[in-house]
C-alpha cells in the first residue's frame, strides 16, 4: 500500500528528471549538428506566446517513449510475466513486481526489482534484486508460525534481440547464491522451499517471440532453468522447462491479456536427501491487465496453475495430498524508464 502511494508520489520527480535528461540530449544534438554545419544559423519561428502567467492549465504534449510489444522483462515475479506496452526509451528501465503466492499453510511475498539498460538496439543488460518474505502457519504441526524474509538470490541478465524489428529475444540469466540457504528454526534447518536461496549458482535461458498486431500482441516463447542442482546440505532442485503463449489486446491505455504456460520439472526435488512432493507437470492460466502512459506502466495479474503427475514423498510431519489446483499467485508492478 505504502509502496504504491510512494510510487505515485515520486512519479513527477522521475518524469521531470527523465524529461530534463532527454531535453539536454536533444539540445546537445542540435549543438553538435550546428558545429558540423559550420555555424549555419538555426531558424526559430518568431511567433512568441504572449502568455506570461500560469493562471490556467495549458495543454500537455507528451513525448512518446513507449512502443508496442512485450517489455524486455525477464524477471517473472512468481508466475506473472509482463505483457503489454511497458515503457522504454530512458537511460535505464526500472521494473518492479510484487507478488503474493497463496499457500495452503501460509504465503510468500516477493518483490522483484530489476534495473536494465539498453546497450545499443540489440543488447540489454541488467540485474535483479528479489526481496522475499515467506510465512508459514503451524510449522511442522506445532502451534507456531514461522517467517523467513530478506534478499533472495541476486540475478544478472543479458538479452540479445534478433530480427529487423527486434521481435525475437534470447535472455540468459545467472542467479548468484546470495540468499540464505541454511536458515533454521529451533536448531532445525528449514526445508529448502522455505529458504531464501539454494546456496548455488542458478541459470536460465529464455527465448521470446512477439507478434505485433494492430489490435494487440501475441508473445510465444520457451525457457529452460537450471535451478542449482544439489547444494552442500544435500538439497536438490531439478531443472525445469516451460513453453508459453500470451495474447494482449490494446484498449486505449489498457492492455488486458490472457496467457497459458506449460511447465515441466525434470526430476524430483530433494530436501537434505529426502524426496519432496512435487507435481512434475503444470499448466497455468494467467490474466493480466496493464495500464500505461508514455511514462509509466502498471501491471496487475493473477495466475492459477493446475498440476499433475505427482511424485516424491510428502515433506514435513503433516501428510497432505496435493490437489490438482496449485497455489495461485497475484501480482502488481510498475515500470518506469527515467532520464
Amino acid at each position: 500500500m505504502a509502496c504504491i502511494l510512494l510510487a505515485g508520489g515520486s512519479f513527477p520527480f522521475f518524469a521531470a528528471q527523465r524529461a530534463a535528461g532527454r531535453n539536454a540530449a536533444r539540445v546537445a544534438r542540435l549543438q553538435s549538428s550546428l558545429r558540423r554545419s559550420d555555424g549555419r544559423a538555426l531558424i526559430a519561428d518568431s511567433a512568441l506566446s504572449l502568455r506570461v502567467s500560469n493562471l490556467d492549465g495549458l495543454l500537455a504534449s507528451w513525448e512518446t517513449i513507449g512502443g508496442c510489444g512485450a517489455g524486455s522483462s525477464t524477471g517473472s515475479g512468481g508466475g506473472i510475466k509482463w505483457i503489454g506496452r511497458s515503457v522504454t526509451g530512458g537511460a535505464f528501465q526500472l521494473q518492479t513486481i510484487g507478488t503474493y503466492l497463496h499457500l495452503q499453510d501460509g504465503y510468500n511475498l516477493t518483490q522483484f526489482t530489476q534495473i536494465s539498460r539498453d546497450l545499443g538496439e540489440k543488447w540489454n543488460l541488467g540485474f535483479g534484486v528479489p526481496l522475499l518474505y515467506k510465512y508459514y502457519r503451524d510449522y511442522r504441526g506445532r502451534p507456531a508460525d514461522i517467517s523467513n524474509g530478506g534478499v533472495g538470490d541476486l540475478a544478472a541478465f543479458l538479452t540479445r534481440r534478433f530480427g529487423e524489428i527486434n521481435d525475437t529475444s534470447l535472455t540468459l540469466l545467472v542467479g548468484f547464491p546470495t540468499g540464505v540457504h541454511d536458515a533454521s528454526y529451533k536448531n532445525d534447518l528449514l526445508t529448502q522451499e522455505k529458504q531464501l536461496g539454494l546456496g548455488r549458482f542458478t541459470g536460465s535461458a529464455t527465448l521470446d517471440h512477439t507478434f505485433d498486431q494492430t489490435w494487440g500482441l501475441i508473445v510465444v516463447g520457451s525457457s529452460f532453468a537450471y535451478r542449482g542442482g544439489e547444494n552442500s546440505l544435500g538439497s536438490y532442485r531439478a531443472p525445469s522447462g516451460a513453453v508459453y503463449g500470451y495474447s494482449g489486446y490494446f484498449m486505449g491505455p489498457w492492455v488486458p491479456s490472457l496467457g497459458l504456460s506449460l511447465q515441466h520439472f525434470f526430476g524430483v526435488d530433494r530436501d537434505r536427501g529426502l524426496n519432496q512432493q512435487v507435481l512434475l507437470w503444470s499448466v497455468a492460466g494467467t490474466f493480466e491487465l496493464e495500464w500505461s502512459t508514455d511514462w509509466l506502466a502498471i501491471l496487475g495479474g493473477v495466475s492459477l496453475p493446475l498440476g499433475w503427475d505427482e511424485r516424491g514423498y510428502v515433506d514435513g510431519a503433516t501428510s497432505k495430498h496435493s490437489s490438482t489446483i496449485q497455489p495461485w499467485t497475484v501480482g502488481i508492478g510498475f515500470t518506469v524508464s527515467p532520464f
Binding site: A2, C3, G8, S10, D56, A60, T64, R137
Partner: protein
C-alpha cells in the same frame, strides 16, 4: 454526567465547530465555474416548462440531442436559491454544505481516549481543502462531498456498533445522489469497499498473518456483517436506477470515467483542463496542485505508521480515490476529502502514543499546542485568501463574458453565437432563447470528433471561415487571456472583412457579422484615445481591486499585442510594475523587432529570478534571431532544465530540430 465528561463533551463540540467553520471558510470565493450557468438555465427552463429536460434545448451543436440530465435536482435547487439570494446565496450555501460535510466526517472519527484522530482530522481536512481551494466550485460535487461524508459516517458507525439501522438510510441517500450528480457511482463504490473488506475479513481475518485491522465490532458475526453490506450494496445499486433516465442515468458515470482515461487520441482527457492529471498540470503550468505528490507520500507514511491498525476498507478507499485523483485533477478534492479522516484514524493514535510515551503529560500539551498553532496558521491563510477575492455577488473576474452578453442583449434580433466552451453556459443563462451558443461545457453532449474540430478552430483559425460558411454564426464571443488559446482566432477575425469588433475591454471580445450589424458602431482600437477610454473603464470597474485591475490591464495589453498594436499595448502597461507586466513588455519589444530593449528587460527578469523560464525562453529567441545559435541553445537548455515540460521551451526545441534537419 460528571463535570469532567461535560468538559470533554464541550471540548469535542467546540472542536467540531472549529472544523466546520474552517471547512466553510476555505470555500469562500466567488463563483468561477462555467458550468453553474447552464445549471441555472436548466433549472429555469424546467420551472418554465413544468417538466424535466430530456433533450438539449440550449446549444447549436447539440440541439435536440438526448441529454441525460442527471443533475436536474441540483439545477432546480440552485435556481431556487439564486432567485431568492442571488449568486452570493449560492456561495454561502456551498460554504454551509462544506461545513456540514466536515461535521459529518468529524462524527465519523470516533472520539476515544488515547487518540488524537479528531485533532489530526482538523488539521488535515482544513489543510487539504485549502490546498484544493480552486476546486471548491459551486457545483454538484459539493453535494457529493456531503453525501460521501454521510456514507463514511454511517459505514464507520456500522463498523463500530454493528447496528444494521446505520445502513438503512444509504439506499435512500443514493436515490437523492443519483438525481443530482453523475458521481453518484461513488456511493455504491464506497459500500463496495467495505463489503469487500468484510468478506475478506470473513475469509482470512482469523489468521494470525492477516495484515489488516479488524473491520468491526465483535458484536456482529463477520459473515453477517458481510451479508448486510452486500445487501446494502445491491440496494444502492438499484437505487441508482431510480432516476427519470433509468439505466442511461446509471451508466453515465462509466461514460464520464472513460473520458478521463488518458490516451493518445482522447481529446477530452488531453484538452479539458480539469481532466488533466495533476502531474501533467504541474509539469506544464507550474500547477496549483503541486502538493498532490507530497500528499501521496504523506498517505504512504500514514500507512506505514498505522501498520496492522490499518483497515482494509480504508486502504481500498484510499487507493481508489488516489487512482481517480491521479487520472484527473478534479478528483484531487475527493481524495483529500475522504483521505483526511483516514489519515487521522491512521496517524492520530500513533501520535498520541508516541507523545505520551516519550514526553508524558508535557509532551501531550506541547503537541496539542503545536497542532493548534498549525490550525491557526491554516485559518489565517484561508481568511487572507477569502479577503483577497472579489465580491461574492458577482462572478469571478474574467470568467464570464458579462459585458459581451450585455451588449448582445441590447441588440435586436437573434442568432447563433460562436464562443469559447466555458463561455457557453453564461450566454445560455443570459441570452437564451434569443441567442444560442455553438458550444458549452456539457461535453458529454459532444463527440470526440466534434470537440477536436472545435479546438482546431482556435489553433488553426484559417479553418474558421469554412466553418462559418457551414453554420452561419451571427456573433463571436471569445476570451483574450483566460485562457489564451483563442488569441490567434481573435486576430484572424479582427483582420477579416466579414467581421467587426463590437466590444472589448481587453479580457473579452465580441465580434458581429458586418452584414447583420450595419447599424451598430464598431469599437475602435487603433488610436491612443481608444486605449485610454478602455483603461478608464477598467479603472472604474475594478476600483478597490488592484490585483484584478492589474490583470485586466495585462489582458488589454495582450490583446493589443496579439493584434500587432505594440504602442497601444505598451500604453496599457504604462506604470504597471509587476513581474508579469515586465515579462509581457519584454515580449512586446521582441514582437516589435526591438531586440535590444527586449534583451535588456529579459536580463532584468533574470536578475530578479535566475531561473525565470519566461525570460530564459525570450533570451533564447533573441539570440537565435541574431544568429547566435550556440548562445540561444544555452538559454534554451537552462530553461528546459528548470522546467522540463515548459510548453514554450519544448515547442521551441521541436521547431529548432525541424529547422536543423
Amino acid at each position: 454526567m460528571t463535570p469532567r465528561s461535560d468538559r470533554l463533551r464541550l471540548r469535542s463540540l467546540a472542536l467540531g465547530c472549529v472544523l466546520a467553520c474552517g471547512a466553510a471558510l476555505t470555500g469562500l470565493s466567488p463563483s468561477a465555474d462555467g458550468d453553474i450557468w447552464w445549471h441555472l438555465a436548466a433549472g429555469r427552463e424546467m420551472v418554465a416548462r413544468g417538466a424535466l429536460l430530456f433533450a438539449d434545448p440550449f446549444s447549436v451543436s447539440a440541439a435536440g440531442r438526448t441529454w441525460v440530465d442527471v443533475h436536474w435536482l441540483f439545477q432546480l435547487a440552485v435556481f431556487g436559491l439564486h432567485r431568492a439570494f442571488g449568486l452570493a446565496g449560492l456561495v454561502w450555501a456551498k460554504c454551509a454544505l462544506l461545513g456540514l460535510g466536515a461535521w459529518l466526517l468529524y462524527l465519523a472519527v470516533e472520539q476515544r481516549r488515547g487518540s488524537w484522530a479528531r485533532g489530526v482530522l482538523l488539521t488535515s481536512l482544513v489543510g487539504g481543502l485549502l490546498a484544493a481551494r480552486s476546486l471548491l466550485l459551486v457545483r454538484p460535487v459539493i453535494g457529493t462531498l456531503v453525501l460521501l461524508a454521510f456514507y463514511f459516517l454511517q459505514l464507520e458507525r456500522f463498523g463500530r456498533d454493528g447496528r444494521v439501522r446505520n445502513l438503512w438510510p444509504l439506499p435512500l441517500a443514493q436515490v437523492l445522489w443519483a438525481n443530482f450528480q453523475g458521481l453518484s457511482a461513488l456511493g455504491p463504490a464506497l459500500v463496495g469497499a467495505y463489503a469487500v473488506a468484510a468478506i475478506a475479513w470473513t475469509v482470512g481475518g482469523a489468521a494470525r498473518s492477516w495484515p489488516f485491522a479488524p473491520e468491526g465490532a465483535v458484536s456482529l458475526q463477520p459473515w453477517k456483517r458481510a451479508r448486510w453490506l452486500v445487501a446494502t450494496l445491491v440496494a444502492c445499486g438499484v437505487a441508482t436506477l431510480v432516476t427519470p433516465f433509468g439505466l442511461r442515468g446509471a451508466t453515465l458515470p462509466a461514460l464520464l470515467l472513460g473520458r478521463l482515461l488518458p490516451g493518445e487520441h482522447d481529446v477530452f482527457a488531453r484538452n479539458v483542463a480539469e481532466n488533466l492529471s495533476p502531474f501533467v498540470l504541474e509539469g506544464v503550468s507550474g500547477g496549483e496542485l503541486w502538493h498532490f505528490k507530497w500528499s501521496l507520500a504523506l498517505f504512504a507514511a500514514s500507512a506505514l505508521i498505522a501498520g496492522r491498525h490499518f483497515k482494509l476498507s480504508h486502504a481500498l478507499l484510499l487507493l481508489g480515490l488516489a487512482g481517480l485523483a491521479a487520472l484527473s485533477n478534479r478528483n484531487v478534492l475527493l481524495f483529500y476529502w475522504l483521505g483526511a479522516p483516514i489519515l487521522a484514524l491512521n496517524v492520530g493514535p500513533a501520535l498520541w502514543r508516541a507523545a505520551a510515551r516519550r514526553f508524558r503529560h508535557r509532551g501531550l500539551q506541547i503537541a496539542a499546542a503545536l497542532n493548534a498553532l498549525l490550525v491557526g496558521a491554516l485559518f489565517s491563510t484561508a481568511a487572507v485568501a477569502a479577503a483577497r477575492e472579489s465580491r461574492l455577488a458577482e462572478p469571478s473576474p474574467f470568467r464570464v463574458p458579462a459585458m459581451s452578453a450585455r451588449r448582445l442583449a441590447a441588440l435586436p434580433g437573434d442568432g447563433k453565437v460562436f464562443c469559447a466552451d466555458h463561455h457557453g453556459g453564461y450566454l445560455i443563462w443570459q441570452l437564451y432563447p434569443r441567442f444560442r451558443p455553438y458550444i458549452d461545457t456539457r461535453l458529454v453532449l459532444r463527440t470526440a470528433d466534434e470537440y477536436a474540430t472545435y479546438l482546431r478552430l482556435a489553433d488553426e483559425p484559417e479553418r474558421f471561415d469554412a466553418f462559418q460558411a457551414r453554420h452561419g454564426f451571427a456573433y463571436v464571443v471569445l476570451p483574450v487571456l483566460f485562457p489564451e488559446r483563442y488569441q490567434r482566432l481573435i486576430a484572424h477575425l479582427y483582420q477579416s472583412a466579414e467581421w467587426k469588433l463590437l466590444y472589448t475591454d481587453g479580457s473579452e471580445v465580441l465580434f458581429g457579422r458586418r452584414d447583420l450589424t450595419r447599424d451598430v458602431a464598431e469599437q475602435p482600437l487603433t488610436e491612443a484615445s481608444d486605449t485610454e477610454r478602455t483603461l478608464a473603464e477598467l479603472r472604474q470597474r475594478y476600483d478597490g481591486l488592484p490585483k484584478v485591475h492589474a490583470a485586466a490591464r495585462l489582458s488589454l495589453a495582450t490583446l493589443h499585442g496579439a493584434l500587432g498594436q505594440f504602442d497601444s499595448a505598451r500604453r496599457a502597461l504604462a506604470g504597471l510594475d509587476t513581474p508579469e507586466a515586465r515579462a509581457l513588455s519584454a515580449r512586446l519589444h521582441f514582437a516589435a523587432g526591438e531586440l535590444d530593449a527586449a534583451q535588456q528587460m529579459a536580463r532584468q527578469g533574470l536578475a530578479w529570478d535566475h531561473d525565470d523560464v519566461r525570460s530564459l525562453n525570450l533570451m533564447a529567441l533573441i539570440a537565435l534571431r541574431r544568429g547566435e545559435a550556440n548562445q540561444g541553445l544555452g538559454f534554451l537548455r537552462r530553461a528546459l532544465s528548470v522546467r522540463p515540460f515548459d510548453p514554450e521551451a519544448t515547442q521551441l526545441l521541436a521547431k529548432l530540430e525541424e529547422s536543423g534537419q
